[in-house]
Symmetry: C2
Subunit: 487 residues, 2 copies
Amino acid sequence: MLFRRLASTSAWTLPPTIRQILSSGHDSANKVQLCGWIKSVRRQKNVTFAVISDGSCPTGLQAVLSNTLSSQLKLGLTNGASVRVSGSLVNSRGTGQAKELQVDSIDVLGECNPETYPIQKQTLSVDYLRDHAHLRARTDTNASILRLRDSLTKVMQRFYERHDFCYVHTPILTSSDCEGAGETFRVTASSAVPSHVPDLLDPSDSPSSEFFSKPAYLTVSSQLHLEALASSLSRVYTLSPCFRAERSQTSRHLAEFWMLEAEWTWTREVNDVCQLVEACLKDALVLGIGEEERRALAKGVPDYDQRLRCLEDAASSKPWVRLTYTEAILELEKYAAAAGPKASTFQFKPQWGCALQSEHERWLSEVLVKGPVFVTDYPSSLKPFYMRTNDDGKSVACFDLLVPYVGELVGGSLREERLDVLCSRMSALGMDTEGEEYKWYLDLRRFGSAPHGGFGLGFERLISWVSGVENVRECIAMPRWARRMLL
Amino acid sequence: MLFRRLASTSAWTLPPTIRQILSSGHDSANKVQLCGWIKSVRRQKNVTFAVISDGSCPTGLQAVLSNTLSSQLKLGLTNGASVRVSGSLVNSRGTGQAKELQVDSIDVLGECNPETYPIQKQTLSVDYLRDHAHLRARTDTNASILRLRDSLTKVMQRFYERHDFCYVHTPILTSSDCEGAGETFRVTASSAVPSHVPDLLDPSDSPSSEFFSKPAYLTVSSQLHLEALASSLSRVYTLSPCFRAERSQTSRHLAEFWMLEAEWTWTREVNDVCQLVEACLKDALVLGIGEEERRALAKGVPDYDQRLRCLEDAASSKPWVRLTYTEAILELEKYAAAAGPKASTFQFKPQWGCALQSEHERWLSEVLVKGPVFVTDYPSSLKPFYMRTNDDGKSVACFDLLVPYVGELVGGSLREERLDVLCSRMSALGMDTEGEEYKWYLDLRRFGSAPHGGFGLGFERLISWVSGVENVRECIAMPRWARRMLL
């Protein structure tokens, strides 16, 4: 038989997007054809102006139609309708855009009833848009955030590629609970519900009733798995979904969120880990967001100018401040003492050995430092078992990066690479160092152990910080939190 | 107080990896320091040769030590030990490598007992290595596969960036089951086990007992969510974990796998979707794997030369073959009829209206076409509800891409954008078009509907195809399948 083979694909490409058309310096002699959705329509005496967006850039493109043309349309030129237009790209006589499209022909591909369309022109509340998660990317702000997310991903990928990290995929389903916080999601095969009831409820399920022969959970962090891969590939990172069954409703927490986590060997100082974090975040601030996108995002943020100055300062070449936990506690105590029992001081008393509360973290970055601050060397009692014990025996080589408006953005540490030290710490915490659960983790220290460290960065928090969009629920396309999962 | 700020990070970088050292054209006058793991040691009369790898490239680096130096070491220079070495990079006098390291000093950072180290020099079976998932990346082949995975990710990202796609993150937790196959994983908050038992077992849980107020599942495909985002951003793609609670144990299935899925608007021909898939896969074949890495991988594959010829042919500019399902059935029937009742023909009789079996798919790509083949326009009864109905009313505008050795690599289609056609198809399948479950999906057709299409590509299968590594369990760092979840 004769096989149908289409023309060679090497020169193949999709038709240009509006972004590509606007950025390519099109010649007005050349006709362009493009598709998109109507964002607004303005009828004047002889002509109709319609802004068309295909989501590829914040501005969209203004199309100018003769009213003769628009009156011939069978379907209405309404907000939200999808259209295909052809015409010439010309210099705009109006303000607000450099180019506009002089339309020769237009077709409405998908109509949109202006009475029932949920995305109306007026400002819609974030709550309303959360209730319409399937359509909210059609608003300028939400589309901008999604493009920013894409852009920040690229900047991060390039940073880690430049530093010879290997991008890896770590498991989502796991039997281990990295943080030990217990707020995990449990996974069962829905088709495997056995007829005998008790198995399902008992965490020590008989192997036969479990899909994986043992209980499975959604990962809360990729770190332990990254450590295994770093013990072969030296430098690894991932951008991976993580899950915490947190019931608290805050602007910084989601049940499903994405974390950028990196882990690398041959590092011996927590300051070196901070250095890499600072370098990659400065790339995010400098390269992650263009001027046009920033203007589009600024519209929804009341104190945007102040935030922007703060971001510009953080992006400058000036190194970020580092404080030890002990120094941070001293500063907090000093402030609390000087302020006296005023309403403006803290609800929780700062005290060595106790966790820093959100109010403390915000004060450190927003008031004391007025910028990002690495707080290092926390007491070991406040941190998980895997962090490397300092020579003082009571603190660990770790850091939290606190940034204004967001709070904790990154957490990281050196990992304990000394088998004996790790085992005694685990034993002290009542963990079983002889059993199967951590055997593999201890093996990494048993065979060719290497000093190493790493960190985890909350990706939605990064987007919140860079964009000025306050709640992480707007920083992900389809957010999930306690009692909320649409689509 | 005086804030400690370290030197500016702008010029900051990590020490070079072995790959960077070897590719940078180092001057032998400059001393280099590097870290890695010993891969092999060979003692001769005056010198010791040790191959050191840090996982950054397939070859590693040969280090040459005087026996005086190696005899001074307190810890043994054994396979798997981690070391730090300094010396000069010189032209190698031996064969097998262009450069070698003349060692001035060496430290063993982490010893490795050669008696108990699970990764011995001799060839280890895939089963043994699967049992040692935490260490198997230390073998040359598994490290190569992980680097290939990284490389293919980058090639794909660049492809989609060039074509102005927006990289998005779609939800992992969802209430909808895209494929309707029912083999899903169910998710519950492990801390939320209520004291009253019945709720937990009843799929129609009372809202209070569910973390999200309704049952949650792990996604089997991002497609429906991508469609929502494409209806704003026009071109979107994701590389996302997907989950199927499949109990079948095959070389092509995992319970947790990664899918590259893309979705874009304003496309009207299934051939256009095929065209994009072909272009992106040719990029993967041409750019995804370097010569050195290919040689490293070839070692483990018996029929590598034949596979390589097949891959080179697929990567050529010659367009890939396209067959309709109807044509494919005719070819299969013809072959089965000509072969008669011989043992070499099919176990399942090829028949219009029935699914293509694995044996049919393999015959089409491996025997008939001897290369990748797009089989298009399957009967609608064999495909999910969302695929666009063709004008003949009985087939849908879809395709499966079949490739030699792997079988189905990609599946895609135009999506039904006509609200009325979609609703009748759903009703015919007994799906509720009035309820909440699909309201959002139908809204995408109700308001500014746009013709669109997309596809899903099994990422482990792509790696299997490109690498020649037969089983997808080797194509992901830490595989999960029925009854198997290590780490």
